[in-house]
């Protein structure tokens, strides 16, 4: 079995629509130096680095080559350095890669970094359109919003999900972000405000959609021996995995059911020995760039029966004072530096377990879940973190 791995440090940057105060390596340095400081280590203590971002958004191909020395001086110190790129799951994938770096036995202390400067892409949907198969599907102007809208159309058709439910998700996430100094959008508004925001791609409105953000995130992963020395309360990785579904958007007729996520959840819960997620999880950082996806995620992750996700929202089960708070950080709805967002979910979950989530801390967190999705909604990553080692 893989050896035990824990997260022992986290670094975040302030996210905004455009961090024009910094050049790319400086933005990354902000996250990595914070993570090193949080773990109480120096660059020399880092054995390897793994870096994630989606390439086209930053206007520089392979920015990790440019940023190498902002990552614990990886270039100057000649450390193993690997780049991960898997669409929206990139940040989650990067955390997973960091996990395998340590679990393999090859490295004891690993820095995992993810960044994105969506602010430097003047039109993000155009870039996302290039993800769609150019031979058959790209010509239709499909970007991420359209696919999420199709998910919403199906779910609303199959179940009693309403636009009000979506608006409530938006309101809650943005309110949570007020407690998060690193979040991009930190605004308070009402369901009525949300419902009067412009319709972008029916049934999704502006309020249902995430912003485009600049930001970076870094975490430090360590072997058991190192983790126990470095952190008072490490966040132990008890389950981790990712899945790749097919890319043709038309291959899944059942958009109301996020089956690839359900499949992954079964695998990862088994690894983490979780039978009843609602009872055993204390907080969940879900990847919710579009409100409808939060509902689909509740259902796929087994928080409730299929079709009952909206009910959970109405009853406040996933609000900050509910049974299973979702996205205390404000989620991707509030902050979306795409390639980094998946790692931010892991970082936020780790902070919750480590008891270091300041104003957004959920009381008594033992077990946290971090999720990300990507591609034409066919990629997912999942990680379960716990106060106790597996």
């Amino acid at each position: 079995m893989p050896r035990r791995v824990a997260i022992v440090g986290v670094g975040l940057t302030r996210c905004s629509s455009w961090r024009k105060d910094v050049a790319y390596p400086e933005l990354v340095y902000e996250a990595t130096s914070a993570a090193l400081q949080d773990a109480g280590i120096t660059p020399n203590d880092v054995n390897a680095v793994v870096y994630g971002c989606m390439d086209p958004f930053d206007g520089v191909n392979a920015p990790e080559k440019w940023n190498v020395d902002a990552c614990a001086a990886a270039g100057m110190l000649g450390k193993p350095y690997l780049k991960i790129s898997t669409g929206g799951t990139t940040g989650g994938s990067t955390a997973l890669a960091g996990y395998y770096h340590v679990a393999s036995g090859l490295h004891d202390v690993v820095l995992a970094v993810a960044s994105q400067r969506v602010g430097e892409t003047l039109e993000a949907q155009l870039v996302l359109n290039t993800a769609v198969d150019p031979v058959y599907e790209r010509g239709f102007g499909v970007g991420a919003i359209a696919i999420a809208a199709i998910q919403a159309c199906s779910h609303m058709h199959a179940y009693d999900t309403t636009e009000e439910d979506l608006a409530l998700i938006s309101v809650r996430n943005h309110e949570n972000a007020l407690n998060n100094p690193y979040a991009h959008l930190r605004i308070k508004f009402s369901v009525e405000d949300a419902l009067s925001s412009p319709m972008l791609s029916w049934p999704l409105r502006l309020s249902d959609c995430c912003p485009s953000s600049d930001g970076a995130c870094a975490i430090i992963l360590a072997s058991e021996e190192k983790a126990r020395k470095l952190a008072r309360q490490p966040a132990w990785i008890t389950g981790a995995g990712q899945i790749t579904d097919n890319y043709f958007a038309g291959d899944r007729a059942w958009y109301e059911d996020w089956d690839s996520l359900a499949m992954l959840a079964r695998r990862v819960y088994r690894l983490a020995k979780i039978d009843d997620p609602m009872r055993e999880l204390d907080v969940a950082e879900l990847y919710n760039p579009f409100t409808i996806q939060e509902i689909l995620e509740y259902e796929a992750l087994g928080f409730c029966e299929p079709g009952k996700g909206a009910e959970m929202v109405r009853q406040g089960v996933t609000a900050m004072d509910g049974q299973l708070p979702v996205c205390p950080s404000g989620g991707v709805l509030s902050t979306n530096p795409i390639g980094a967002s998946g790692l931010i979910r892991v970082a936020e979950a780790a902070l919750q377990v480590m008891g270091k989530a300041d104003q957004r801390q959920v009381p008594n967190v033992k077990t946290a879940l971090a999720h990300a999705w990507g591609a034409t909604i066919g990629f997912h990553t999942l990680m379960i973190l716990d106060r106790e080692a597996p």
Binding site: G139, A149, G250
Partner: protein
């Protein structure tokens, strides 16, 4: 590092990279059939027997090449859709409706425009379109061997 008073320097960038994408064997035939024979072809996997539309040269589940070509109908059911009202740089001017359509005889959905419906008025559009409704392809008179040889699918 930079002082508060200095306005940060920015420069403009643009990637203008020309590509020529190889469509592959399956797509080449699909588009030829659209153009020359005004018909929609799918590829059947010899193992799971699914008819894949658009066709592809291998089935990713069974991991075998697909060799059997099957004609599917140019009509089918609307699986799901969205109506885009926002203008994104270099993407089509709104409003337009993107739908996933399960053509009769196919096991996978085809992405295409849904038209022949007034999309300007959202409430009217929502009445005119529904999941499961029947649609019929509207073909262009002059076909070029592209997905746009079908102009859109209209309510049948």
């Amino acid at each position: 590092m930079t002082s508060q008073q200095e306005e940060p320097l920015t420069i403009d960038g643009r990637w203008d990279i020309p590509y020529r994408h190889t469509a592959g064997q399956a797509a080449t035939r699909f588009f030829r059939e659209l153009k020359e024979n005004k018909r929609i072809m799918g590829a059947r996997c010899p193992s799971c027997r699914r008819v894949l539309v658009p066709p592809r040269s291998f089935c990713e589940r069974c991991f075998v090449p697909t060799e059997e070509w099957v004609e599917v109908e140019d009509k089918g059911a609307l699986i799901s859709f969205t109506i885009v009202y926002a203008q994104f740089t270099s993407l089509p001017p709104p409003p337009y409706c993107i739908g996933l359509i399960k053509l009769d005889g196919a096991d996978t959905g085809l992405m295409h425009y849904v038209g022949g419906v007034d999309l300007q008025d959202l409430e009217a559009a929502k009445k005119a379109l529904s999941v499961g409704m029947r649609l019929q392809a509207v073909w262009r008179a002059e076909r070029e061997g592209k997905i746009s040889d079908i102009e859109y699918f209209r309510p049948a």
